[in-house]
């Protein structure tokens, strides 16, 4: 059971508080508050830590609509590309690029066939002698393979013979 005096005191306090609040001019009070000073006392970082940007903010933002409103040309006009490039460490950038992989992805056949590179190679590759040598070697390899196919059939080998020595098959040593 509560004390009757305490209950009475509680009622009196609530009544007094109502009277004070009704007597106060809240607008006038707020005009006297220095909002900037108040904001300056707020720890924004701690506040932002409490905000779940991914789930609450970004989901509600229509990024496409936002980007539609951005004038990219005007933005680029304002950007100093040269200054930006001056800040790029090209050496560090290139060291991260696998040039060998890049070259492997180049279709050399198409490159030679469709560009002036082909003409350069043709003029610098020794002409008729080089062409004759290529032809002779190619014909010899063709005949080698022809004879080899027939020998394989004649010998009726169940398992194919190794095509190259182990070190060359594994790519450990060049010919």
């Amino acid at each position: 059971m509560t004390d009757p005096f305490e209950t009475l005191a509680q009622h009196v306090a609530e009544r007094v508080l109502d009277l004070i609040v009704h007597a106060l001019d809240v607008n006038a009070l707020l005009q006297r508050v220095d909002v900037n000073a108040l904001v300056g006392r707020i720890d924004m970082n701690a506040l932002l830590d409490h905000v779940d940007i991914d789930s609450h903010v970004l989901r509600k933002v229509d990024v496409n609509a936002l980007l539609d409103r951005v004038d990219v040309t005007a933005l680029l006009d304002r950007a100093d590309i040269n200054a930006l490039l001056d800040r790029v460490d090209v050496d560090a950038l290139l060291s991260r690029v696998d040039v060998n992989d890049l070259v492997r992805r180049v279709d050399m056949d198409t490159l030679v066939e469709q560009t002036d590179l082909g003409a350069v190679i043709a003029r610098s590759s020794g002409g008729a002698a080089s062409e004759a040598l290529d032809a002779a070697r190619s014909q010899a390899v063709g005949l080698d393979q022809f004879i080899d196919r027939w020998m394989q059939r004649a010998l009726r080998r169940k398992h194919p013979a190794p095509s190259a020595p182990p070190a060359l098959l594994n790519g450990r040593a060049g010919p």
């Binding site: 030679v112 070697r137 080698d144 020998m151 190259a164 182990p166 040593a173 010919p175």
Partner: protein, 195 residues
């Protein structure tokens, strides 16, 4: 079949065991070259001897001394070539090379040993060479004794690019060439026309 398609197929053959035709052709070139050099050397010696002594010196090929010198010269020709670079002149022409059986670069003493045992393949009525056809690694008897193998070493990839380049040059001007860029041959033709 054109050279280009052959070369395209040969790209995959680089480093593979060389076949009988390539090896035979290389050997034929080597015998021709070494015999020609030997004959020229004998002729040069005869000429010098004639100039110095005033007497005609003739070499009989059936002479045991000449035959012995010829054999020694052949051993020197093949042995030095294999020991030094793994290939003779004929092998260089056909784009093949002698390597160790495991594919690594040939050791000089193995090259010399190969030249030393090379006649053994001949002495058995040529049966020693049968290994090139029937042995799984296309190794002749002298290869098995010396622990060597013969592989294709020519850059077939480069040959294919050269073929494509020649084919491209023979066809129409490059589509990549800009309107202001003319082929030098076109410029020459235009100049001739103006003249």
């Amino acid at each position: 079949m054109t050279t280009g398609t052959h070369a395209a197929r040969s790209v995959t053959s680089q480093g593979h065991y060389a076949g009988s035709v390539s090896r035979f052709l290389a050997y034929a070139i080597d015998i021709t070259v070494s015999s020609a050099v030997f004959t020229l050397a004998l002729a040069a010696i005869s000429y010098v001897a004639k100039v110095v002594t005033g007497h005609e010196v003739s070499w009989n090929k059936g002479n045991a001394v000449v035959a012995a010198i010829f054999v020694a010269w052949e051993f020197l020709y093949f042995g030095y070539s294999w020991a030094a670079s793994g290939k003779t002149i004929g092998m260089a022409v056909l784009g093949i090379r002698v390597v160790m059986a495991d594919g690594t670069t040939i050791e000089p003493r193995r090259g010399a040993l190969r030249a030393l045992v090379f006649p053994v393949s001949f002495l058995l009525c040529g049966l020693g060479f049968l290994g090139i056809l029937v042995q799984r690694e296309r190794r002749a008897l002298h290869d098995l004794i010396a622990g060597t193998a013969v592989i294709y070493a020519w850059d077939a990839r480069a040959a294919r690019l050269r073929f494509l380049a020649r084919a491209a040059e023979q066809t129409a001007p490059s589509p990549v060439r800009g309107p202001g860029q003319q082929h030098p041959d076109d410029e020459d033709a235009e100049r001739d026309h103006q003249d």
